[in-house]
Point group: C2
Chain length 465, copies 2
């Protein structure tokens, strides 16, 4: 069995001579087996082994006994042991996420901390061949594609390795028994234990009895076979990313990608999203197909994506960007601040407009334009500054003719301004108060009345494109 | 539902205007539904519909009632109806194959006969969406690859079409009920009904209850998704077939193919085997991997394949050929016939040997060589001809010292001659009787004794290479 694991390690290039390896050690049979085997082969490869254990504080005494077992195991084996206690229930409540997700996040956070602090090269995880088959079956039933059917990978990001993914559970149990390792029983590993136990204890035994007694190996062979297909396609995806995707502050996907075959197109988009966002999860086929539909739609069409991303069709190319950063950037860039004194006979440029400011005395003979891009305000009600900017979250104003304040968002809704346009409408503020949402609404605060002495006229002229 | 089917037909390009379509009509709900729908849309496409029914004579009266129902259904619908009675049990016994395979063979034979005789363009089969999901699950459990997980194809060879592969079983049953079609119950469709019923009645309901109530659609979505991947890879397979495979009397696969990625390599070999042999079934991944191993072995290595094919490594290229044709050709080519009178002091060339014939009087003073490539025979026991050839099926001889006859094959086995070498050993026959299996055994029939007058000496000399 040791030889089988060494062959697997060599084939998959999991371990290099001299590696410092941190084992995720729950204390269950799989991780105890993995640690034991790694210690065993550590001379061959000149390895330095350590263990990381998380006490999820979910099962009271039992969890503490697991921790004690792990500590004593590591002491006997003479390896470093790092333990962290995490109150998962508290995190679940605080963040409103599942215990499964909280567990995953905390686990990986802890591993990464230890890896950096103690210069580990690899983090070893204890998934076995049965886990692999169960994972493939679960994904199949939940809905997946080729990538999912390939199963868990033996190596991820060059750091996370699974050296015993080639070993069956019963082999592991026998080994533990023979070597009297007395591992703890895995009561929960914080994954969706209900489904996995159903697969493990009901579905697989049923299939074994009625269809194929060798189902674990059959499914694993399928996974290996499909991994060759996935590998083949992924080589073209790499090319395609180079050829069609431009990663800067924004991700630009060239329209030519959308002429490629669907297998390549969908994978390239998915891959580009992951590379750009640095997030591995939450991008689904639905989002990919939405982006394809967006590209076939007209320019300016937008789409919200997970992780605060949005996609926009810009003349048939697709731009992906972070909404928040983009908005902050956009607002920062499109922001003009003028002193009150600088206003008269001044013309400034604001995005696609020129804005003309004129101050004149109120002599009662002014002819007011009814152009929605020309407005008049009481100049003396401005105390210091005038700012032209785009909308921000929480913007409010006192609309002309009303006594109360209203959210700009609601005004947009009342005026049926399409969501996609709202970000581009200039907003004129006097001091910190909104005086004019251009083309839509002026403020009660700065309106002209009989006592107005000086009138500020603001005129917007759309630039020639 | 009709619209859904029309959309499916258009998407998959199953039917052209003016097509003559033969429906495989068992009388069960699926095929009755299919026939009814095709008749319904026949005006849109100007179709001519006919039906083919096979009475497998397996269930006595019931099978006859099915036949009667189908005849009456077609008469009412005003379409041609072709019926064939096939005694499947008899065929199973005669050919020693499963009833499943016998059914498949007979079915396709009948369809092809009708198609040619009555100029049908398409043959329509009544598989539905549930069949598809069941098939994918069954293949998964039995062991498969990407091609298998794609499921049944909507179109095969441009002739076999499955227009209702997009429709769920319950939709079909409702339709039949509504339209009072009263289809027969499919008691057996001659496929592996035990496994399929287990999947249909136990496994899928279990998955629905415990994992995913929408499992049928989930699996079908997977099939569609994977079909895009399969399509993508297959385009490269087409190129690869052109580039590396030479289809003549033999199939020559260039060694350069074996440097390609495994996904492409395995598929190209499989595809080349199918194209060359014109057989779709029985080539398994095991055979493909064996061919890859053969190519990595030394020149001259051979491998038996299904359908009387064999693969040979010829200086790192792989040659695939039909064993029978090859053997006949080989034997025909390597065949030398000499008249008895032509023997003395003659040297002939036979493959890698020169054969030297010398006739001399038996004067009792001849020194016999113990070289296994030199033998002596009683010249007068030859009546007319001497033939040098390679082995044929059924070859027998009377070995020296034995009174009975023995199969040459058994002699090869006794002498532990490797299979691969047996085809290359020269066999010398006097008239029609084997006198010498060169290097191995001479015959009792032509041995020299005291009364021998003339001695024929045959000496083989291996040519310089």
């Amino acid at each position: 069995m040791k030889d089988k694991i060494i062959k697997y390690i060599e084939d998959k290039e999991l371990i290099k001579s001299g590696d410092r390896i941190l084992v995720a050690l729950s204390g269950g049979p799989d991780s105890i087996f993995l640690t034991d085997i790694l210690i065993d082969i550590s001379k061959n490869y000149n390895l330095k082994i350590g263990a990381a254990h998380i006490n999820h504080m979910l099962r009271g005494e039992e969890a503490d006994e697991d921790e004690a077992y792990v500590r004593s195991f590591c002491e006997k084996a003479g390896i470093d042991c790092f333990v962290k206690r995490v109150d998962i229930n508290k995190i679940v409540k605080e963040r409103g996420i599942s215990s499964e997700m909280a567990g995953r996040e905390e686990r990986y956070k802890f591993f990464e901390e230890l890896r950096k602090e103690h210069s580990y090269d690899k983090i070893a995880l204890a998934h076995n061949l049965n886990d692999q088959a169960e994972t493939i079956l679960m994904r199949l039933m939940r809905g997946t594609g080729l990538e999912g059917l390939v199963g868990i990978k033996a190596k991820r990001e060059g750091i996370y390795i699974r050296p015993i993914l080639c070993i069956e559970r019963n082999e592991i149990e026998e080994y533990c028994l023979e070597k009297k390792l007395k591992p703890r029983i895995d009561k929960t590993n914080l994954e969706n234990i209900y489904s996995r136990n159903k697969v493990r204890l009901e579905l697989i035994p049923y299939i074994k009895e009625n269809f194929n007694s060798d189902i674990i190996n059959t499914i694993n062979r399928l996974g290996i076979l499909l991994s060759k297909d996935e590998e083949f396609i992924n080589e073209y995806v790499e090319n395609s990313l180079d050829k069609y995707c431009d990663f800067k502050d924004e991700l630009k996907i060239d329209e030519k990608l959308f002429l490629e075959k669907e297998a390549l197109l969908t994978r390239t988009i998915k891959s580009a999203l992951v590379v750009f966002s640095k997030k591995h999860f939450d991008f689904e086929m639905k989002h990919i197909y939405d982006i394809i539909a967006l590209q076939r739609n007209k320019t300016g069409t937008r789409l919200s994506l997970p992780h605060d991303l949005e996609a926009v069709n810009v003349y048939k190319n697709v731009i992906i960007r972070f909404v928040n950063t983009y908005n902050e950037e956009r607002i920062k860039k499109a922001n003009i601040l003028l002193k009150k004194e600088e206003l008269n006979n001044n013309i400034i440029s604001f995005n696609e407009y020129d804005m003309e400011f004129t101050v004149s005395s109120n002599e009662g003979n002014l002819i007011f334009s009814d152009d929605s891009l020309v407005k008049y305000f009481d100049y003396d009600k401005i105390s210091k500054n005038i700012e032209v900017r785009l909308r921000k979250d929480g913007d409010r104003m006192k609309p002309l003719g009303m006594s109360g304040r209203k959210k700009i968002k609601d005004i947009f809704i009342d005026f049926k301004i399409p969501k996609d346009n709202r970000d581009f409408i200039p907003i004129v503020c006097f001091d910190d108060e909104i005086a004019w949402v251009v083309g839509i609404k002026t403020s009660e605060e700065f309106k002209i009345n009989k006592s107005t002495k000086k009138i500020l006229k603001i005129k917007l002229i759309r630039k020639e494109q």
